[in-house]
């Protein structure tokens, strides 16, 4: 048994891109049935390493061994044929097709007379899918259209798709790579995913698991490899290492305080939301935001948090209610109106809503300010760069102002989106999941930025799915449940249990705000179940 070669061995992997060495002699060894955690800040080289494994990139040097045999992975199809499967953060499903059709998209079964005509054999397809899903313990009807599934369920389908042997000749998955699979999942869904991972590992599948969440690392990992700046800092068994050590290895600095919260003086009212409603999404939302305050917004996926943010920022219309900015009633028809009133939105999905990938860092940062920077409509690159440069250095964006943002890592891209609002006269910042997919070091920098903004008298609405972050950074936490405000908790009263309970729609044991609506009784089938 001990003589058995590792399922996967990567030795001395090197990969350079123009101007940057992404990987500099990286070694990674994976045993069959092992769950191996891969840690590192954004830009450390995790994604590049996995792209080499999956055949998306060619390595410049180094070797890859599968079960002790040296292989050259020539492309994504080759990687698939060798039993390497990768589940990317961005899901790759066709929403218009059913779960079964998606899972077997590459090898839809045909039968009998139909074979020549390419007629789909639905019975076989659904049979195969039902067996596969049952095998994996996934409770989804194969006929459901994927577009109607929630994010977590889509993720399950994605995993099933990766594990489904595309055709009879292809080997089963031997190496499975998961890139931050839980970033959009609720607690219960995470548990489902973990038990799925345990079953796979028991079958001998070697799993590489990329995450930024420390609790997950210790929960399911056996060993961990930390990457920094394209090199392996260490590979350790998880029993022999602590969170603090790992964080130090990743950041090369002690992040002793994850949440460097500084409470700022409460200033005047900046924003008042009065009975805002949007049919089917938001019901009767009222709250105020003061200067110097961070108002956390908690809730499950689908509770209406993002919808609330977009309504306030003028991105979506709402049906009823009134917004007041600094005491004056306002109506926003477009985001431009909201920005003119000093409200800036950091959208949830930075790629789809926050950045123009082909433009440079400076031009992205300057985009909201282009009109102000121009004279008679004529822009000056110099003034754009002058505007952006202090922000780039201030936020420690690891890039030059003239680089296209496409080439930046996730954390740096997020900082660019943040930077867009720092140059203007925004007083109300709406941050929708500001640290999603961002590494530990950059997270702390974002928190420090929030402190600075509130110290200057700005107000921040922070939507987050990470409880520690909400508890650590908010002055008050507004918990939403099914489009309503369920509870508002003060910083000192907020505990993990209270926030979770309220998000699930449970009646709180201590009624902090007698006037807040609580719908449904205890254990009413809250969205997370």
């Amino acid at each position: 048994m001990s003589a058995r070669p590792p399922a996967l061995e990567m030795r001395g992997i090197r990969k350079a891109f123009p101007g940057v060495v992404a990987l500099d002699g990286v070694d990674l060894t994976l045993h069959a049935g092992e769950v191996h955690m891969l840690l590192g800040e954004n830009g450390a080289g995790k994604s590049t390493l996995m792209k080499i494994l999956s055949g998306a990139y060619r390595k410049d040097a180094g070797e890859i061994l599968l079960d002790g045999v040296r292989v050259e992975i020539s492309g994504p199809r080759d990687a698939l044929a060798r039993g390497i499967r990768v589940i990317y953060q961005e899901l790759t499903l066709v929403p218009q097709l059913s779960a079964a059709e998606n899972i077997f998209l590459g090898a839809l079964p045909t039968s009998g007379v139909g074979r020549r005509l390419g007629l789909l054999d639905r019975r076989t397809l659904h049979g195969q899918t039902t067996r596969l899903l049952a095998d994996l313990g996934i409770a989804i009807d194969p006929r459901t259209r994927v577009g109607r599934l929630g994010l977590a369920q889509r993720q399950m389908i994605e995993i099933a798709k990766a594990l489904a042997t595309a055709d009879a000749d292809a080997p089963a998955a031997r190496v499975l790579v998961m890139d931050e699979p839980t970033s959009a999942l609720t607690t219960r869904e995470v548990e489902q995913l973990f038990s799925l991972i345990e079953r796979l590992s028991a079958r001998g599948v070697a799993i590489v698991y990329i995450t930024h969440r420390m609790d997950e690392v210790f929960r399911i990992g056996r060993r961990v490899t930390v990457l920094r700046d394209g090199r392996v800092i260490a590979t350790r068994a998880l029993e022999t290492v602590t969170v603090a050590e790992l964080v130090r290895m990743m950041a090369n600095r002690d992040v002793t305080d994850h949440f460097p919260k500084v409470r700022a003086a409460r200033g005047p009212e900046l924003l008042r939301v009065d009975r805002l409603s949007s049919s089917g999404v938001l019901h009767d939302i009222s709250f105020t935001l003061h200067g110097g305050e961070v108002l956390g917004v908690a809730g499950l996926l689908g509770a209406g948090r993002t919808e609330l943010a977009r309504a306030i920022a003028g991105a979506d219309r709402f049906d009823a209610g009134q917004l007041h900015v600094a005491g004056a009633a306002v109506r926003f028809r477009t985001p431009a109106d909201a920005i003119a009133r000093g409200i800036g939105l950091l959208p949830e999905d930075r790629k789809a809503e926050g950045l123009v990938a082909g433009l440079t860092v400076a031009r992205n940062v300057a985009l909201p300010h282009a009109r102000r920077l121009a004279r008679w409509g004529v822009l000056s690159s110099r003034r754009e760069t002058e505007l952006a440069r202090p922000i780039v250095s201030d936020l420690r964006i690891k890039a030059t102002a003239t680089q296209p943002v496409r080439l930046l890592s996730g954390g740096n891209q997020q900082k660019v989106v943040l930077g867009k609002w720092l140059a203007g006269s925004v007083r109300v910042f709406i941050f929708d999941e500001p640290t999603r997919g961002v590494d530990v070091g950059a997270k702390v920098e974002i928190y420090n930025l929030m402190n600075r903004l509130t110290a200057d008298g700005a107000g921040i609405i922070m939507i987050s799915s990470e409880l520690p972050e909400l508890l650590g950074m908010s002055d008050r936490i507004l918990v939403m449940h099914r489009g309503r405000i369920h509870t508002v908790l003060d910083r000192d009263d907020a505990t993990e249990e209270r926030v979770v309970g309220a998000a699930l729609g449970l009646e709180s044991t201590v009624r902090l705000k007698p006037d807040t609506t609580t719908e449904g009784g205890p254990l009413s089938n809250g969205a997370a179940g």
């Binding site: 990139y57 477009t334 082909g358 985009l367 822009l379 867009k420």
Partner: protein, 309 residues
């Protein structure tokens, strides 16, 4: 990467000229080259508008019909003895308004550009036929024809106009907020909107620019032919799209340059001219030009793929 790509197209153009020079010495004479430039000018100008539109991730199929409509309105105004400046202003206004109608339907009506401009392609053509009862309009003063026949030194007026249009449009695209928004809208419309940019207004403007370019092309065409035809400008949309795409502008929007488009238009012009000089049948010419379009885009895609991996 963009620069390398553009350079590649330019090398293609030079190589093409070289081959034609070897095959037929007459190709590389000043008079023939000026002839090519003059013949290319109309497609090149329409392609300026098309580049704006495609950069914003749109498409404009109505350009050829707008050329016809602007042309016949211009012709009728001139025939009826209106002053030249007034006639030109009206013709350009027809182009801008037609383009703006496209733009407003697309931006404020949230309709797909392909469908809207497919509709206005037919509407503008019909309107041109209707006002002229299907007959060509002619009988213009000599002062108007100067726009096509005049020369500054030895350079024909249409070439001067084209150069001026490219210079101006290039400055607009690279140096103004409007130009920046064109790229931003094409690159990521939602991010641009959330940045506070008046996306709808600028989208409407982009199509108005395209309409204006069609009208400018109509002026040159009408002056060259000394007559305005309601059936003029057929297939211009496809030539303009081809020039833009050969020039390296991505149909997905957000990437491309006017310099590339100019080279793309010249490649098509040189190819047509060369094939004519060589006595290649017009049927075969169509096949060759179609092949060039596909090969150019294929090369582009292959190069980009290599860059990514």
């Amino acid at each position: 990467m963009n620069r390398a790509r553009q350079f590649g197209t330019l090398i293609g153009l030079v190589a093409l000229c070289f081959v034609l020079w070897i095959l037929t010495p007459y190709f590389l004479t000043v008079s023939n080259l000026l002839n090519v430039a003059e013949q290319t000018s109309i497609n090149a100008i329409v392609a300026v508008g098309m580049t704006f539109v495609i950069l914003s991730a749109g498409i404009d199929l109505s350009v050829g019909s707008i050329v016809a409509l602007s042309g016949v309105i211009l012709g009728m105004a001139l025939r009826d003895g209106q002053p030249l400046v007034l006639a030109l202003t009206v013709a350009l206004a027809v182009g801008v308004v037609s383009g703006a109608v496209n733009g407003l339907l697309i931006s404020h009506g949230d309709l797909p550009p392909f469908i809207v401009t497919l509709g206005t392609m037919s509407i503008a053509r019909g309107a041109a036929l209707l006002v002229t009862e299907g007959r060509p309009v002619s009988g213009f003063a000599a002062s108007f024809r100067v726009l096509a026949t005049g020369r500054v030194g030895f350079v024909p007026a249409p070439v001067i106009i084209t150069a001026a249009v490219y210079l101006l449009a290039h400055l607009v695209l690279t140096r103004t907020t409007f130009g920046r928004y064109v790229y931003a809208i094409g690159g990521n419309e939602e991010a641009t909107r959330l940045s506070g940019v008046a996306v709808r207004f600028h989208k409407a403007m982009i199509y108005a620019v395209s309409g204006l370019m069609s009208a400018v092309a109509a002026v040159i065409l009408t002056a060259r032919l000394n007559s305005a035809q309601p059936i003029a400008g057929m297939m211009y949309e496809l030539d303009a799209i081809a020039a833009t795409v050969i020039g390296g502008t991505s149909l997905m929007g957000g990437e491309g340059t006017l310099g590339g488009t100019l080279v793309g238009a010249l490649i098509m012009g040189v190819l047509r001219n060369g094939l004519n000089l060589l006595g290649v049948s017009s049927f075969l010419q169509q096949i060759v030009i179609g092949g060039v379009i596909v090969v150019a885009v294929l090369l582009d895609t292959v190069l980009k793929r290599k860059h990514r991996a």
